[in-house]
Symmetry: C2
Subunit: 235 residues, 2 copies
């Protein structure tokens, strides 16, 4: 049975790294002592080692050990043997490029579908969708494809931001960008505001956290869904 | 001799499409009656025809005729025969994907380097740089490469935005994103604020418009350059 948390962000304003998610992580990883961490998204360009240390610090608050995927000679075997997996945020293009270069996508998809508990934040959540076509990140690396895990039947837009009515900036709003996406792509998109996450348990997908999510379907007006709504019908 | 204008945006807040640039366009296209318009970036997903009508409306204020590239059976021949070329903004990935599909990059680079006057705004400016690795756009299409014209020896970041100190949003600032770019890429990046543009005349590249530009070089602290500065040494 799939067990996945797909979180908009690692950090909500005013609290520490992963703090707002720790209660959920404790339950999600209740049978897991050592979590395999995928550090490939490298926020701020930090090294895999530095990033893993940040994550270890957070998970030590709920008594979990963290091993970075870069520590293993055979990352595919490491994925297959993991009891629980966490992929952190950073740059989605860098993450996906490295996952393709290390040939990891198939193994990762396979263990997630077999029930290894998985958690993603931001870029680590983007890759749970069908493609990274709704990433907010700068395309600083060129991955061999934009296709990703597809362990949920839609795309994720993390850090979803409502339009700022006072802005004089002429760049597109997030909503405009996602609507442009639907001129060229058909899958639904869930805009997850910071503090929101999806809990996937088997075929059930539930919106969690204090906020609504904004749903974008091709040829439909975008709409809001409340926390605790089952979104598994969205595909 | 190269004759290029590379503008951050088509539209500054409070005025109409291309209005702030019309005086510069009049000079830039002084010997051109009919401008070939590349409508491929399709802002808001609009059709090539609709987009060309928007551009015709703006250029009619300076007595220019506009022909859309989509109107030609042979777009490569159309590029080669054009007296002046304008590429508008929209989505950079959609634009680059279509330029590759129509096999246009080589012809476009060749005529620009031979002196056909070229103007780009936003996505149409991004493609003047070495790659689209510093685009702000959502990756809603997957082009066969991120490499672009390279008619200037650096990358462009259009719609450059200064960090908002009051923001509680946890997404990266533009400056952070460009600094991440430099962990994986080495070319300089010019952050062009809205209202700024680069004027390329032969080997001279001058910052124009009322605002400073922000310059990012690998392993250097970002810095500001004033209008009228020659940036051709940046490479």
């Amino acid at each position: 049975m799939k067990q996945i948390l797909i979180a908009s962000t690692s950090t909500v304003h005013g609290s520490g790294y992963l703090d707002y998610l720790l209660d959920a992580l404790k339950i999600h990883f209740k049978n897991v002592d050592t979590i395999l961490f995928v550090p490939y998204a490298r926020p701020g360009g930090m090294s895999h080692k530095e990033y893993t240390a940040v994550v270890q610090l957070a998970f030590s608050k709920i008594d979990k050990t963290v091993k970075g995927l870069h520590e293993f000679e055979n990352p595919i075997e490491a994925i297959k043997n993991a009891k629980g997996i966490f992929t952190g945020g950073g740059n989605t293009f860098v993450l996906v490029d490295q996952l393709y270069k290390a040939n990891i996508f198939d193994a990762l998809k396979s263990v997630i579908e077999s029930g290894t508990p998985y958690v993603g934040t931001s870029a680590g959540s983007n890759i749970c969708g069908l493609t990274i076509g709704t990433s907010n990140d700068m395309p600083i690396a060129y991955p061999k494809s934009f296709q990703t895990l597809g362990v949920v039947p839609f795309n994720i837009n993390p850090h979803y931001l409502d339009p700022d009515p006072s802005s004089t900036h002429m760049g597109e709003t997030r909503e405009t960008r996602i609507q442009e996406f639907h001129h060229f792509n058909s899958q639904p998109v869930i805009g997850l505001r910071e503090g929101s996450y999806l809990e996937v348990l088997g075929s059930k997908i539930t919106l969690k956290g204090p906020l609504n999510a904004r749903i974008f379907e091709k040829n439909k007006t975008p709409y809001e869904l409340s926390p605790e709504t089952d979104v598994s019908g969205l595909n």
